[in-house]
């Protein structure tokens, strides 16, 4: 069933009787060519591209709970490709290009809104680093724009220019960055994949892998054994838990990242703003809520909730850069489990087990990567070779010393 | 005798005094400080030496002690901060080193800190807005490190509910002072 404005009007006039479920609710088949574990954004996107680009149709997505219930359903909705390192920038730019055509590709309005993102600069050293980054973006075919103080005052007059502890000295903008309605991404990919025959199996927990002489034959689940030619794991914060069932230890720690939304407000923020002298970034949703976040809590956690010190730290950053939000109210806060990798960059790679593939280590940057992550993982699963934009995302880069460390923090995941 | 004129941590020639209601905040520049850390394997001897230097047992974790010449508070495992009147004890580090010898490492800390005395009947109303200390249990002689205005400070209860001594990082004396007097105005 195609969605369109005409369809909406037709249904409105006929009592909305014609709307069908957005995806089926099938029982698992005994065997699939490819089984993807994890019905989040990355898993569902992988299924969609497997079916739509790589011609794979005997595909299942297995989800422990309800699809889209993980980080794709709890993030700050930002998309951007403002990366520094060559291992990352082409991949994220590829992702941004996929975002730009997403609605037409999925026939689902995920409200991709390229309202722009701007990183504020507060010191000369920071400016040097951001100029290097902006150049790297342009040299990789992305867009970047250096804004001086005057331009920032013009575009963002409500920022703190009067009594800032760390005065704003400039900014690096990416006009093509922006936000997306996060839940809709999961739903859109699910609906599109389902329409091409992919089985989306909810409330089905993977309890183990069936591995015989180094080959993965399928997965044991709460709904029984499901055979698979290849198994792809895309479970973000739960990666270590899942892969431990295959006897693997990962270069990943799970940490909690909190995110926040204010009460609905009439439009005040044009785009996404990142504060360079504190832990705070913010955008405004179409419903009017200020969606903001900051640093991770900093300790290993699977609890999906954080604590007050980080809430305060984030709000201090917000008040420092945007003192007009003091009387706006924080409506809701929540925590997600981040798969923090050892260099802050992801892994899309084979494992040492034949037929078992891994996608994870997204840290808190996984949402913006959703389309390219799905695309590249689909490529790897279908062709058994890395996608051109994801060749650096290997397990063995830590062994060989080819880390992709954007922040230069080394092997301490909570600092990335 | 050298001829360099000192300034206080707040940058003045005289100590700063501020009052709100019946609570007074006084900058105390005349404090000499030295850190004493027992050498590995000499913890026992060091503690004994300190006891003789102080004239009372070296304070246990979370506590401070008053001696005749010196006062001390615990700062870490087998580590203490000793203080004395700056006038007459400016060379506090050398003096104590001569006492403890090779049983401890001694480091001059006099000018690493700014020292304030907060005195008055309602200081707890001020303290509860400044730092995370369980004031019901903060009896005279207790000493703790805590964060004030994001600054790591030592707070010593010199007279429970009536007077505390606050040691903060010297370079941030101005920020610390501002934070305390702002909160005094708010709480009192």
């Amino acid at each position: 069933m195609r969605y369109s404005g005409f369809k909406v009007i037709k249904e409105a006039l006929t009592g909305h009787k014609g709307w069908k479920p957005a995806w089926r609710d099938p029982d698992p088949q005994p065997h699939y060519d490819i089984v993807i574990i994890g019905g989040g954004g990355h898993g569902l996107a992988t299924a969609h591209y497997l079916a739509s680009v790589y011609g794979q149709h005997k595909v299942a997505v297995i989800e422990k709970g309800w699809i889209g219930g993980g980080n794709v359903g709890r993030n700050t909705t930002i998309i951007r490709s403002n990366y520094l390192l060559d291992g990352n920038e082409p991949f994220y730019e590829f992702s941004l290009k996929l975002w730009e055509g997403l609605e037409q590709d999925l026939n689902y309005n995920a409200m991709v809104s390229q309202r722009g993102i701007m990183n504020l600069i507060h010191s000369d050293a920071q400016r040097d680093v951001f100029i290097r980054r902006g150049n790297a973006m342009i040299l990789n075919g992305a867009d970047a724009e250096y804004l001086d103080l005057a331009q920032i005052k013009k575009e963002y007059p409500f920022l703190n220019f009067d009594d800032a502890r760390f005065p704003i000295k400039g900014g690096l903008a990416q006009r093509r960055g922006g936000t997306v309605r996060h839940d809709a991404v999961a739903w859109g990919y699910a609906r599109a994949a389902d329409s091409r025959g992919v089985d989306i199996i909810q409330n089905c927990e993977v309890t183990g892998f069936r591995i015989e002489d180094g080959k993965c034959l399928g997965v044991e689940t709460s709904k029984g054994f499901i055979g698979a030619g290849r198994v792809g794991c895309a479970v973000a914060g739960n990666s270590s838990r899942l892969m431990a069932k295959a006897g693997m230890r990962l270069p990943i720690e799970s940490h909690v990242l909190q995110a926040f939304v204010s009460e609905g407000l009439k439009p005040v923020l044009p785009g996404v703003i990142t504060f360079g002298a504190g832990h705070f970034y913010v955008s405004q949703s179409d419903k009017g809520g200020l969606v903001f976040g900051g640093d991770i809590d900093g300790y290993n956690s699977y609890a999906q909730r954080g604590n007050l010190p980080v809430v305060e730290d984030v709000c201090e950053g917000g008040m420092a850069i945007m003192p007009m939000i003091g009387r706006a109210r924080l409506l809701r806060m929540w925590g997600g489990i981040m798969d923090m990798s050892m260099d802050g960059s992801p892994i899309i790679d084979r494992t040492h087990i034949d037929g078992l593939y891994f996608n994870g280590g997204w840290c808190y940057g996984g949402f913006k990567a959703t389309p390219a992550s799905g695309y590249a993982f689909a490529h790897l699963l279908a062709r058994d070779e890395p996608h051109a934009t994801a060749t650096a995302y290997r397990f063995d880069r830590f062994r060989t010393g080819h880390m992709i460390d954007e922040k230069g923090m080394g092997n301490q995941p909570n600092l990335h | 005798m050298h001829d360099l004129t000192p300034i206080t941590a707040l940058g003045g020639s005289a100590a700063r005094v501020d009052s709100v209601g019946d609570v007074t905040l006084t900058e105390v520049p005349d404090v000499a400080l030295a850190s004493v850390a027992a050498r590995r394997g000499h913890e026992g001897v060091c503690a004994q030496t300190l006891e003789s230097v102080l004239g009372t047992a070296a304070p246990s974790p979370g506590h401070a002690a008053e001696g005749a010449e010196y006062a001390a508070f615990w700062t870490g495992p087998d580590q203490w901060m000793l203080s004395a009147d700056f006038n007459g004890y400016e060379d506090i580090a050398a003096r104590i080193k001569s006492e403890v010898g090779d049983t401890a490492s001694v480091t001059e800390q006099t000018d690493a800190w700014v020292c304030f005395d907060l005195v008055g009947p309602h200081i707890n109303a001020v303290l509860e807005l400044l730092c995370n200390v369980d004031l019901a249990g903060f009896q005279t002689g207790r000493a703790t490190r805590t964060s004030i205005h994001h600054l790591g400070c030592y707070v010593i209860s010199t007279d429970a509910g009536q007077s505390v001594r606050i040691l903060g990082p010297r370079a941030s004396a101005g920020s610390l002072h501002h934070a305390i007097i702002t909160v005094m105005a708010s709480a009192l």
């Binding site: 005065p167 003192p323 | 000192p6 850190s35 050498r39």
Partner: protein
């Protein structure tokens, strides 16, 4: 101003009149009123518009669960959007404005959405606005954004201040209703440290809203008397106007005290609000219960409200939405409202009771087994349509309708650590369940004890249990003890545009569509329909939606699940979560010992981390910073300059194993460093990447003074403690920071020795022989002041660093300036410092960027293979030692007037300019007055072997391309003769 709907009695001070305005119109109320109660008393029912359809709305409730009556409170910079009229305490001069309407509340053009509602069903926007792609940002989205949102920000900085504080207690009691008050009484009398917090400005909870007695007095009087006794107990702290917003790990609670929100403006020096971090050994949740509505068509008109709220307005605030009201209920509680209002002279048009056996023992008409099927009245209720038990319909005229569908325990805080409420069949409601936050107990209505007696009893018992009190429990005063069983009645059969979430306009119809399209889990329902996502956080709406979804799915409510509540309990001002850390106070400021003097000299300061450092010292006539900086560099290199370098981290490393320790943390050797000598040291992370560099001066066999970069002081100290405590636990090493204890100045330039000789006491020989390059010593200056002298150089000149106790730093600087006059001594700032270190090719923060190795920095040989040190092993990985690894080089523009930009990328002289052909990047750049052109440092692939090669420096983001030559990074005095002079 007449208060047409003001009744008799109530807990308001009629002797005082408070004037206020709503949408510019003048009204009067009394102390004790909320904005909503005062407006109702003035016969104002219409207070807001809904989010999506802009439906006219009045208050649904009398508390913080309010979805409808939300307004913009105050004006100017204090404008406060989305404020609940039902909790806003009235003060004289209060001004409020309705929001999310245009042009006016009574006539809102956006109400067209209501007419189009059939097109704007749940999730409609996911299905359209897709073509053409470009139209989304340009056309559709701006319209949607403008229509959405509720109140508006002033766009000005919040003029009020906020405090934060800490409180500790044995027992935190949340909610001061009958359960909370009796618990506080029990615990307080037992001598425990008790905090009793309530979001209301008047403690007592429902007791203030009811008429039935406790013992021989009214509930309200009993509450007042109890509060009075508690106030006399020194171990009990009463915190009214304080909302506990969240339960965090290990008994830490966030609570917001509204100190000044009931005043026109905060008193001088006082905060608007305070965020309390409450550390509770035990917690007792007595948050009461929230009445739940019934869904029927058009159940959202102004005048339709929860029956118990209507009762609260009448009893506590002596206000009624109308003088002719009807009640729609499925339980006895609705009749209490009818009874109380009638007692205050309000005409009860009818009580419509869904139960066929509804009690008739009252002197008003009761329609048994009847249901409200529709309502009338555009801006306020005028009629309700009733289906009677015999099937006949009847119209009841009324200006207000009280609705009662039973009660839901307020379990919110029990969920904050993901405890899952459990379904209680008797109550047909969720009660606290799963794992509660550690140390939390629940009592009273929040735990399903709905009767007053039950609340009093469970409150006392829970307090005794929490504190482990022994002995007989004290008697519970006499109070009503009605049975708490409830039979559910969620919605009227066949209703469609029946509101569940009134603020977000989610109707029964939307839930049905959500089910039809497969969004059937609670989380999908919430997200697809936005049920419960509004500012009231679904306090009155979630359960209804859940019940309907359960019925459609043929499941039980617990099978469908419950949405778990997250902090904050009610929306919380962002300002109070930030507290005082804003503006200039966002971070503490660190000042150097020479700051006062530098300020007098008119220095320009720059933020370096939390430090403020002198950036340059402009002289009269200098109009551009470059003039000052060039002069400072030239003068220093020509004669002598002085720079405050106190900000460098200083760590005192002592102990018999100090040398062994440094040998482990530095990649180069320190074991054999002689006493009286200083050595440059490079510190690696365990992953082989450079962490920091600095010097270590050996002042004695068992004492080193280690310096770190300004930026890394904290991290290096932490790293050293890790090595000391976790990797070398037996070593005899003691560490302590002395960064701020010593004022340290660089004295640099050919005349530096001559200048210092005038300051250092004569018995210390600082001649080149007596005090050669890299020497260090404890000395005395100015006639006996203890000091430290290091012969180290960052500038590449003959240079020293001299340190004295910080309090003398100001005097020493002034002395250096006075004694230096004969050499034209020049103070220099961080800019000149930076220029000189770039001229010397010294790595700094820009080069130590967390991705560079010793090899990259041209120090590969420093990594000693003769010993084990942190990072030496992993630094040998192939990826860090490739043939064309980046190497630090110097860069010189081919034409002297060209600009060199840090952050620029390096490309070959010819060929494509793109990432694939990237050769490296520029880390630092400056104008060298010594050389008369700009210079740069950078990392270049195989840089060591490309001296003399011409490259293109490209910086597209700053629109720059220049040709540069690869040269040695040591631009000035490459042989290093000056430093040894």
């Amino acid at each position: 101003m007449t208060q047409k709907n003001r009744l008799n009695g109530g807990q308001i001070d009629r002797d005082t009149t408070l004037n206020f305005t709503f949408d510019g119109k003048q009204y009067a109320g009394h102390p004790g009123d909320t904005l909503a109660s005062a407006l109702l008393a003035n016969n104002v029912r219409l207070m807001g518009r809904s989010f999506k359809y802009h439906r006219p709305r009045g208050p649904l409730s009398a508390g913080s669960e309010e979805p409808n009556a939300i307004v913009e409170l105050r004006s100017g910079a204090r404008q406060e959007p989305n404020t609940r009229a039902t909790t806003a305490e009235l003060f004289d001069g209060l001004s409020a404005t309705s929001q999310n309407r245009w042009p006016s509340l009574a006539f809102d053009a956006m109400a067209i959405n209501d007419r189009l509602s059939n097109f704007l069903t749940a999730g409609f926007y996911y299905k359209t606005f897709m073509w053409p792609a470009a139209f989304w940002e340009k056309i559709y989205e701006p319209i949607i954004r403008k229509a959405a949102g509720l109140g508006s920000l002033s766009m000005r900085a919040d003029p009020d201040t906020y405090d934060k504080g800490f409180r500790h207690c044995d027992l935190l009691i949340i909610g001061a209703g009958p359960a909370g008050l009796n618990a506080a009484l029990t615990a307080g009398r037992a001598g425990a440290q008790v905090i009793l917090a309530d979001e209301d400005f008047r403690m007592g909870g429902r007791l203030n809203a009811e008429t039935y007695p406790i013992a021989d007095m009214s509930g309200a009087d009993w509450a007042a008397q109890t509060v009075a006794e508690l106030a006399t107990l020194s171990n009990v702290r009463l915190m009214p106007r304080t909302t506990v917003i969240g339960a965090f790990d290990h008994g830490i609670y966030g609570a917001v005290e509204r100190v000044s929100d009931h005043l026109a403006t905060p008193a001088a020096g006082k905060p608007r609000q305070i965020l309390w971090r409450i550390y509770a050994k035990q917690t007792l949740l007595c948050a009461g219960a929230t009445e739940r509505p019934i869904a029927f068509d058009n159940n959202d008109r102004p005048g339709i409200m929860l029956a118990a709220s209507m009762r609260a307005y009448a009893n506590r605030w002596a206000a009624t939405p109308s003088h002719r009201v009807a009640i729609f209920t499925n339980n006895d509680d609705g009749h209490r409202t009818a009874h109380d209002l009638q007692g205050k002279g309000v005409k009860i048009a009818a009580v419509i009771d869904t139960r066929q056996d509804a009690p008739r023992s009252y002197d008003y008409e009761v329609l048994q087994g009847a249901q409200v099927v529709d309502t009338k009245g555009r801006l306020g209720l005028t009629f309700v349509e009733v289906n009677q038990v015999d099937g006949s319909t009847r119209t009841v005229e009324c200006g207000a309708l009280g609705v009662s569908g039973g009660w839901n325990p307020n379990v919110h805080l029990t969920c904050h650590q993901r405890g899952r409420p459990t379904w209680d069949e008797n109550l047909a409601a969720f009660v606290p369940g799963g794992t509660l936050p550690s140390g939390m107990n629940v009592a009273g209505a929040a735990n399903g004890d709905f009767s007053t007696h039950g609340a009093l009893k469970s409150g006392a018992n829970a307090a005794r249990k929490a504190l482990g009190l022994k002995g007989r429990a004290p008697a519970v005063p006499e109070a009503e003890d009605a049975p708490g069983t409830q039979t559910p009645f969620w919605y009227v059969e066949g209703c469609s545009r029946a509101w569940l979430d009134q603020q977000n306009d989610v109707t029964v119809k939307d839930v049905k569509l959500s089910h039809q399209e497969g969004f059937r889990s609670v989380e999908h329902l919430k997200r697809y329909t936005t049920l419960g996502m509004a500012t009231d956080q679904g306090k009155t709406s979630n359960i209804g939606g859940l019940a309907i979804m359960a019925e459609l799915a043929g499941k039980s409510i617990p099978e469908v699940g419950t949405t778990i509540f997250r902090p904050p309990y009610t929306p919380t001002a962002i300002g109070v979560l930030a507290g005082r850390m804003r503006g200039k106070e966002f971070h503490p400021t660190r000042l150097t010992p020479s700051h006062v003097w530098a300020k007098e000299r008119g220095a320009v300061f720059v933020e370096v981390g939390n430090w403020l450092r002198a950036q340059w010292f402009p002289l009269p006539g200098e109009t551009h910073w470059r003039q000052s900086v060039d002069r400072e560099v030239t003068a220093t290199r020509a004669s002598v300059g002085v720079c405050d370098c106190t900000t460098l981290g200083k760590i005192d490393v002592q102990g018999s194993d100090a040398a062994t320790f440094l040998n482990t943390v530095y990649c180069n050797g320190f074991a054999k460093l002689a006493v009286g000598k200083t050595r440059y040291g490079l510190m690696l992370r365990e992953d082989g990447i450079a962490m920091d560099d600095g010097t270590a001066a050996r002042l004695a066999e068992d004492q080193f003074v280690v310096t770190t970069t300004t930026a890394n002081a904290g991290r290096v100290y932490q790293h050293m403690e890790f090595v000391r405590q976790c990797l070398m636990p037996e070593a005899d090493v003691q560490l302590i920071s002395t960064t701020e204890a010593w004022a340290q100045y660089a004295v640099a330039g050919p005349n530096s020795r001559r200048l210092l000789q005038k300051i250092v006491d004569p018995d210390h020989d600082i001649s080149n022989e007596g005090f050669p390059f890299m020497a260090c010593a404890n000395i005395t200056v100015c006639g006996g002041l203890r000091a430290r002298l290091f012969r180290i150089s960052f500038s590449g000149e003959l240079a020293f660093e001299i340190a004295v106790p910080s309090r003398y730093g100001d005097a020493l600087m002034r002395r250096l300036m006075a004694e230096g006059e004969e050499f034209d001594v020049t103070p220099y700032g961080t800019e000149a410092l930076g220029v000189m270190r770039i001229e010397k090719g010294h790595a700094a923060g820009n080069e130590l960027n967390g991705t560079t190795t010793a090899l990259n920095l041209g120090m590969g040989r420093m990594v000693s293979k003769a010993k084990d040190s942190i990072g030496s092993q992993l630094s040998e990985r192939p990826g860090l030692n490739e043939a064309d690894a980046l190497m630090q080089v110097g860069l010189r523009p081919l034409s002297a007037e060209d600009k060199v930009t840090a952050g620029g990328h390096l490309m070959k002289a010819s060929g494509p300019v793109d990432a694939a052909h990237d050769q490296g990047y520029v880390t630092s750049a400056a104008y060298s007055p010594t050389l008369g052109h700009m210079i740069g440092l950078g990392f270049l692939k195989d840089g060591g072997n490309r001296m003399g090669e011409t490259l293109r420096l490209v910086s597209p983001v700053t629109d720059l391309t220049v040709e540069v030559e690869v040269v040695s990074a040591h631009f000035v005095d490459p042989e290093g003769e000056r430093v040894r002079a």
